[in-house]
């Protein structure tokens, strides 16, 4: 398994990033964690609909997104808030979406991130089509699709991998193997040696990387992205990580996994190892940490305030976003729904 930074913060190998880059990756992971913690709290207060926390997967998500360029496509899941944010999806819209408002899916025109996919498996092929279009148009844009270990059991995973390989689309398949598909452990999901091995079935390069090592993830995804931009086709990356929290705020992990397993992974925390590394190089101190957390917290509070200030949707809204032009049928139903009819 490809890894560069050990859990204790020592380094395996020369790092492909500068100290400044390390610091900003760390800052991003801190901001993501603050978002995750605030979201959990808000959900408990009833201010958000069900929320799927990514605690423990910050390195995987920030590292992957850090390898992308503006304009690249991203198709991720309900658990990829950190990845989507780093790729340009504003916190405020992610939060608005989580309040249960479709307007949260209206990402800015200059950001090519898709609204998070709620169905498992269906969105990977979209990143194949998106990348295929860029290839046909001759741009150097690529598409990254993020998904979990469980998603690799869906037939759509197979079709997406195969289409990408057959048409040599510039697609990066980024799998966050976080150990569980809700209550189903990855060992029971498949009998392949590793998930990365599945790439062999498609003649696609596949690598297994320490998903809690932000620099290793960044390096692996960058290599895959470079290959894609160079016209060398798709790649598959298995980032081995762990979901420290519940599947969603509606889930009770106590029913299916041991606290000891969680504790073991807590000790592999993706933020802590970078903190130690930075500290050792004199680039971290508690003051800076405090500052990072406060600034992140402020930005997210602003986003929350913005999202919660958005007036409730109008009864007519849902009719007006079905088609570019509402059909007569929808016009009629909107009238009826809004008392106009």
């Amino acid at each position: 398994m490809f890894n560069l930074i050990n859990p204790d913060g020592t380094v395996r190998d020369r790092l492909p990033v500068t100290l400044e880059e390390m610091k900003s990756l760390y800052a991003d992971m801190v901001e993501a964690r603050v978002y995750d913690e605030k979201s959990m709290a808000m959900q408990r207060q009833g201010r958000l609909a069900t929320y799927a926390p990514f605690r423990g997967q910050e390195a995987a998500q920030i590292g992957a997104a850090a390898a992308l360029r503006p304009g690249d496509w991203v198709a991720g899941t309900y658990r990829d808030a950190a990845l989507n944010w780093k790729a340009g999806y504003p916190w405020r819209l992610l939060i608005l979406g989580r309040t249960g408002d479709e307007r949260g899916g209206e990402v800015p025109e200059d950001v090519n991130v898709l609204p998070p996919s709620i169905t498992v498996g269906g969105h990977m092929i979209h990143a194949v089509g998106l990348a295929w279009a860029e290839k046909l148009r001759g741009t150097d844009r690529i598409a990254l699709t993020s998904f979990g270990d469980g998603a690799t059991s869906e037939g759509d995973f197979h079709e997406a991998m195969n289409f990408a390989a057959v048409y040599e689309t510039p697609t990066v398949f980024f799998c966050q193997n976080n150990g569980w598909a809700i209550s189903h452990p990855v060992e029971e999901q498949t009998r392949s040696e590793t998930i990365a091995d599945k790439a062999i079935a498609y003649g696609m390069p596949g690598v297994r990387v320490d998903g809690n090592d932000v620099v290793a993830v960044l390096a692996a995804v960058r290599e895959a992205a470079d290959r894609a931009r160079a016209g060398e086709g798709p790649s598959f990356i298995e980032a081995v990580t762990y979901r420290l929290g519940p599947h969603t705020t509606a889930d009770d992990p106590g029913r299916y996994r041991k606290e000891s397993e969680v504790a073991a992974w807590e000790s592999l925390d993706p933020l802590e190892r970078v903190r130690k590394l930075l500290e050792r190089s004199g680039a971290w101190d508690p003051g800076w940490q405090q500052q990072l957390e406060t600034e992140a917290s402020n930005r997210i509070e602003e986003a929350v305030a913005w999202a919660e200030a958005i007036p409730a949707p109008e009864p007519g809204d849902m009719f007006r976003r079905m088609f570019a032009e509402p059909t007569p049928n929808l016009v009629e139903q909107e009238k009826e729904a809004t008392g106009g009819g």
Partner: protein, 325 residues
């Protein structure tokens, strides 16, 4: 007798069926260790073991297709699809294989299996978690579709479905799982697949619904009743095959009907009910059959779902309009 809600009644039916017949097994995502995302299969794995209560990979087509093979080989699988919106990857297996093997083999093979699927909105869930596309299954020949709205029917219909020699889709009204409790017999009993249930007798207007919308329909009936209207309420319970005689008998008496569902309006099952009534009871009809349904939109997210789901008011108004003619 035991005081059970719908989730408990289903759990109890599964327990009873597995105890009575060792060919019965349960498979699906998170049905084992977790006991199902709605806890409907809670305790079954502990009691019957991981072989008879199998957690599966996230692969709906595989779940239904494997259950189909298990059934053809003589077992009685009860497959769970986590939400109706996640049944679509299995649509091909259901339509092209499960519903067809008896016809394809002229009775040599059959698929005695049940597909349990929670459906419907009202809990502020994420996209795809509030679907009510029963019509897309009712239109398919070769598979039966049932949906209970009470604990007693839930237990009896599920036991009947598991015994049925042919495949049955068993829809479970998510927002009623824990909403109603009633005394349910603990013995082995069946609620026949087919006949609707006249839940309330009346002579002025017939309210027709099923599953989760029965709650609003009942409330509307109460309001109308208090206003002096004699309301008949039908709970279809079985959506395929449809109890046309039961529907027609009621409308011939009342001359007025309102059909209520949360699925989109166009080509929803309400259309079949209305078409049937005008076909067989046109001259008894004093006024058009009203359809109170979801809109032809995507089921909206939490902040808008109250704008989408048919309200008690809409049902009452439809009935009042019917009564004015």
């Amino acid at each position: 007798m035991a005081e059970l809600n719908i989730a408990q009644a289903i759990n109890s039916a599964l327990d009873t069926a597995m105890a009575a017949d060792d060919r019965v097994m349960v498979l699906g995502e998170d049905v084992g260790r977790a006991g199902g995302v709605f806890r409907v299969t809670d305790g079954l794995r502990a009691k019957y073991g991981a072989e008879r209560v199998a957690d599966t990979p996230v692969a709906e087509s595989g779940i239904v297709g494997a259950a189909f093979g298990l059934a053809m080989a003589g077992l009685r699988p009860v497959a769970e699809i986590q939400f109706l919106g996640f049944s679509y990857p299995a649509y091909d297996q259901i339509v092209n294989h499960v519903a067809r093997i008896r016809n394809r083999s002229n009775h040599r093979y059959s698929a005695p299996m049940v597909i349990r699927i929670p459906y419907g909105g009202g809990i502020g869930a994420a996209e795809h978690h509030s679907e009510s596309t029963e019509a897309a299954y009712v239109h398919i020949p070769g598979i039966k579709v049932v949906v209970p709205s009470t604990p007693r029917d839930a237990r009896g219909l599920l036991l009947a479905a598991i015994e049925d020699p042919d495949p049955v889709i068993f829809l479970e009204p998510i927002r009623l799982y824990r909403a109603v409790k009633e005394q349910v017999p603990e013995i082995y009993y069946r609620v026949d697949i087919g006949p609707l249930r006249v839940e309330r007798e009346g002579t002025d207007v017939t309210l027709i619904s099923w599953g989760a919308m029965m709650r609003e329909t009942r409330q509307a009936a109460t309001i109308l009743g208090e206003a002096g209207v004699s309301v008949e309420v039908l709970d279809l319970r079985t959506l395929s095959p449809l109890d046309r005689d039961g529907i027609v008998a009621s409308v011939e008496k009342t001359g007025r009907a309102v059909v209520v569902h949360e699925a989109p309006f166009t080509a929803g099952l309400g259309a079949e009910v209305a078409a049937t009534i005008q076909e067989r009871a046109l001259y008894s009809l004093k006024t058009p059959v009203r359809r109170v349904t979801g809109w032809d939109t995507i089921f909206p997210l939490k902040r808008s779902e109250h704008h989408y789901l048919p309200s008690v008011e809409r049902i009452v108004t439809a009935a009042e309009n019917a009564l004015e003619d």
